[in-house]
Subunit: 326 residues, 2 copies
């Protein structure tokens, strides 16, 4: 069996996943381009391989069709928007993922992005490095109404991190019905439209699906407070990038922090907006979480190769989402 | 009575402090230079005024001597290193401050700076805005040993904020004996040398005094872990700036976040270091804390002017610190 590792970097901070493959005498190739592959690049590479240890590159019906030997896709991460699950199932290809590993890193980064935006940290830093000194006013988390849309593994951790800040009001919403968090004086479940209207900080922790694609466009952005901030560390495409650019350019919203993009690497007009804090899809990139993701995905690939019971097959409801929506 | 307001901005986000002065028919002048005054500038301005509503500009023996009519100094903030308290007392000048107001803003910013540094947020942001895409590995708060030096109003809030992150080890130290926080499995009081040696993140929440001036120089920085990060949102001068520059330049320490400087506005060689996150003394600059500081300082000045009992005179131990050290 031959394994194609498309996600990069891989095995860089901790060699263990590569060691695991080598100990089992598995031939592997790491993505030679060193960046996210396009559909065509992947389609060209895939015919030779039995297993893909995959990042977020598009594993479309076409790619899967080209993968004549392909038997298994092991996603390093949680999002499945990049994989055509139905096509994989129709061709008998197993798909696994690592749903728990990224959460601690994404949720911490989200809190850091909130405070940076509220206090204009990145702007002050850029100005001082360029030789000018400006003191910016800001706001504190505890004064703000915070809206969390998506209360799965990551959103619920964001809520927990906020517990040490004494926030006055936290509004929760999810596209799936998993209302397993109790309301309190400061924590309320609401419609997402209430979050758009009332929150000072809006943070998204959703999968990218038919239903969440372009969930937040010009119209939704304009219903937000003029001084609201919005954070997306989940998936590109949920906030419409061009609409966000237009709205920020016209001084609606106080700022945005965007870690995920329609196309990555991202080169687009948000680069020209100072109060748009941009990071390079680094949500899960803490050494420990990334290592855990790589190890889990590799172990699952090895279980498949050795005909052992797989432990983190993508569950049925992820297939339903792709077939029918949420 | 005439009031000189040296701290800027003042009354900008909330006009109430200016309204209070106007309602009491008090003549006031706001620092016409719009930036932190030097000793000589202040000495030239001060002779005409009875009260200073002061920022962090140097209110030295010489300034106080020039202030022939000066009767009261009302500091907007907590630090008193800028005021020669002994000289003020010897001339019968009352000094007040606002010790509680800045803490919530400084402590939140500190958490934001920790996460930004750990995850290279400001570097990724700068790179993307300049057209390049780099994914940086980082670490999480909960993996790190965190050292807090200074457990007064601000340090203890930092500790509280960290409670929602599940940190594995938090080491505490203070130059004054106020060990009012209980140890636990994860929280320990230690010598500051232990913090230098063992912490992954070191954050300072100390006053600037004879004893803390240059407390952290080359030698101390080099005893820190090669990949440690250090944060100073307290007072410039506690970390020696030139030594920090040399050490960062030689790739010891993973990064630093500095909000306070020997001379402000700061223009110095830390500007050339990408992994030195620089902010413009914005610790207390949340709108609510800054407003509260300005109102409290103005109300205290008005109490003095109207011969009412003052409520936040600088306590005796601050005078002792300036006379004898900590």
């Amino acid at each position: 069996m031959k394994v194609l590792i498309t996600t990069v970097p891989f095995g860089k901070k901790n060699r263990l996943p590569l060691d695991l493959l080598e100990k089992s005498n598995i031939d592997y190739v790491i993505n030679p381009l060193g960046r996210k592959l396009t559909e065509n690049e992947l389609a060209e590479m895939v015919p030779d391989f039995d297993v893909i240890i995959a990042g977020t590159e598009p594993i479309t019906d076409y790619v899967i069709e080209c993968g004549k030997k392909l038997k298994m896709i092991s996603r390093v991460g949680i999002g499945l928007d990049s994989v055509d699950l139905i096509s994989a199932r129709n061709r008998g290809i197993a798909v696994s993922y690592t749903p728990d590993a990224p959460a601690p890193a994404v949720s911490e980064l989200t809190i850091g992005l909130m405070i940076s935006l509220l206090r204009s940290v990145q702007i002050s830093n850029m100005k001082i490095h360029n030789g000018s000194w400006n003191r910016y006013f800001g706001r504190r988390l505890s004064e703000c109404t915070i809206g969390i849309i998506g209360m799965g593994r990551i959103g619920s951790r964001v809520l927990h991190h906020l517990s040490g800040f004494g926030c006055k009001q936290i509004l929760l919403n999810d596209v799936r019905e998993n209302y397993n968090i109790n309301e309190s004086e400061t924590i309320k479940w609401v419609e997402k439209e209430n979050i758009y209207n009332e929150a000072d900080i809006i943070t998204l922790h959703l999968p990218l699906t038919k239903d969440t694609k372009n969930m937040i466009c010009r119209e939704e952005l304009l219903t937000m407070k003029k001084d609201a901030i919005i954070i997306n560390t989940s998936r590109g495409g949920i906030i419409n990038e061009n609409d966000l650019y237009e709205v920020l350019k016209n001084d609606h919203l106080e700022g945005a922090a965007i870690d995920v993009f329609d196309n990555e690497p991202y080169f687009g007009n948000l680069q020209t907006i100072d109060n748009c804090l941009l990071t390079a899809h680094m949500g899960s990139m803490s050494i420990d979480c990334r290592t855990r993701m790589e190890i889990e995905a590799t172990e699952e690939a090895l279980r498949f190769i050795k005909n052992k019971k797989m432990l983190s097959c993508v569950p049925e409801d992820e297939y339903s989402v792709q077939e029918e929506g949420l």
